[in-house]
Amino acid sequence: MGGSGILQLIFSGITIGSIYGLVAVGFDIIYNCTGIINFAQGEFVMLGGMIMISLVGAADLPMWISFPIAVFAVTLIGALFERLCIHPLKKPSILTLIIITIAASILFKGGAMFAWGKQTFSLPHFSSERPISIFGATILPQTVWILGFIAVVVLLLAFFFKATMVGKAMRACAANRSAASLVGVNVKEIVLLSFALSAAIGAVAGIIIAPIALMDYERGMILGLKGFSAAVLGGLGNPVGAVVAGFLIGIVEALCAGLLSSHYKDAVALIVLLAVLFIRPSGLFGSLEASRLKKF
């Protein structure tokens, strides 16, 4: 395989890796505010993609209207999930929380199967499907859209966390929850917001990936797992690390699929996950000191 072939693989790795990164950011936001790993994170991605496909396909709405509606719908689902399943708990154990988010992911998946059946769907590309040639490799215009949306989401998040009062309150909650409540931050509201926000991010990921990756009711689990691998590799709770780790995992995965065996493609992220957990649970970018405070 020549250099352009490798480049081609790297491009496709970057594309899919950016989605893993977004999913990972969703994990980080909820983890930072609550200490919960939301096993249903991948289902938000699936729901975003599926709802968008329905709006565009069945309801025949234009993309630019469907996009915000789909994101809003999934955000609402995330918020409802928090209100109904997380909010009522009194001093839950970690085991309880794990099982609750797993149960929720089963419910979301079952609901999606109920609504859409078991068929696989695809979304039209956002613009033309004619590949663009770069250094002998080609990329689809959709890849440019994906990278553009990632950039916008990351910038918006950076603005939200650095420049708005609510974003600062979320960071304050992550740093010290009881102190945040002492300055008057309603922590329960922030927890609700963290679920809504990460659902929204998941939905965006699902929508922008739908044109190049087929969507079905089962798609969420594997995307969630790979996103989690990226979150752990980037250092759990570190959104910047998550995005970088997402790209890394995407590229390694694409290279593995292209150069070794496509059978084992899906195992790459998992092997990375286990390797990081066993060797350096704080991830690439997490400090060992900070990780000591977390519950491994």
Binding site: R171, A172, A175, S178, A179, A180, S181, L182, V183, G184
Partner: protein, 253 residues
């Protein structure tokens, strides 16, 4: 600052019992604070001083008894609602937001006010805090986690003041600080009282606390054993023996 009628109890705890798991931390605590007073709680480690502050600010649910602030029952309210009523708690060990800047810590102190009052008011209050603690102004854009112990205590007090509290709960403001720095902090506490803020103070250093406070309560294993005006407590034989031993020289002597 509104003028408050003297003699009306601002804070009142009646027969409060609280538990940490199965350990009873507070056993029938009754105390009150009048407007404009500085009241101090003294006692050994684990006597229940911090627990009293935590139960007032809503961090700890009390089992029974009643806590009222200007007539409003606090027992069922969440911490953020209690802040809105005008109580601000400077917790033990500062509890700053380490990864955030000094100025963001102060802004978060005014979190409740961002939705209601205008930002220039809040900016003015930040300047007021910088006036109280000039050291903080120089470090405004540093991360709170990088401050020295004294600066952290100043920031913790400054952050608490940003909600414009009527009652300030101060937990061990001198803990771990050099005597010079501790004295500076206590000067500021005096200033605050002169400005009309009511203060409930927890302090290990009993002499220092009593020399500042109007009244005091002495706690032992979750119960109040002695109470009275500071001057009386300073002369009390029991207090002298247990808390004002020869090795415990204050800073105001």
């Amino acid at each position: 600052m509104p003028i408050l009628v003297k003699g009306l109890k601002m804070l009142q705890m009646r027969n409060v019992n609280a538990y940490y798991g199965r350990v009873q931390a507070l056993k029938g605590i009754s105390l009150h604070v009048l407007p404009g007073e500085i009241v101090c709680l003294i006692g050994a480690n684990g006597a229940g001083k911090t627990t009293i502050l935590r139960s007032i600010s809503g961090l700890l649910d009390v089992l029974d008894g009643e806590i009222r602030f200007n007539g409003t029952r606090l027992t069922d309210l969440a911490p953020d609602q209690i802040v809105r009523l005008g109580i601000s708690h400077v917790p033990e060990g500062r509890q700053l937001f380490g990864p955030l800047t000094v100025i963001d810590n102060l802004r978060l102190g005014a979190y409740q006010r961002y939705r209601r009052s205008n930002r220039s008011q809040i900016q003015k209050d930040i300047e007021y805090v910088f006036q109280l603690f000039p050291l903080l102004e120089a470090r405004a854009s540093n991360l709170a986690g990088t401050l020295s112990g004294g600066e952290q205590q100043m920031l913790a007090i400054g952050r608490a003041l940003m909600s414009r509290p009527k009652l300030l709960l101060l937990d061990e403001p001198s803990m771990g600080l050099a005597p010079m720095v501790a004295r500076e902090i206590f000067e500021v506490i005096k200033d605050l009282r002169e400005g009309g803020t009511t203060i409930l103070l927890v302090e290990q250093n009993a002499r220092m606390a009593l020399s500042l406070a109007d009244r005091g309560y002495v706690l032992e294993t979750g119960k109040i054993i002695i109470e009275g005006p500071s001057a009386e407590l300073l002369e009390n034989r029991e207090v002298k023996r247990a808390y004002l031993g020869k090795g415990r020289k204050g800073f105001f002597e």
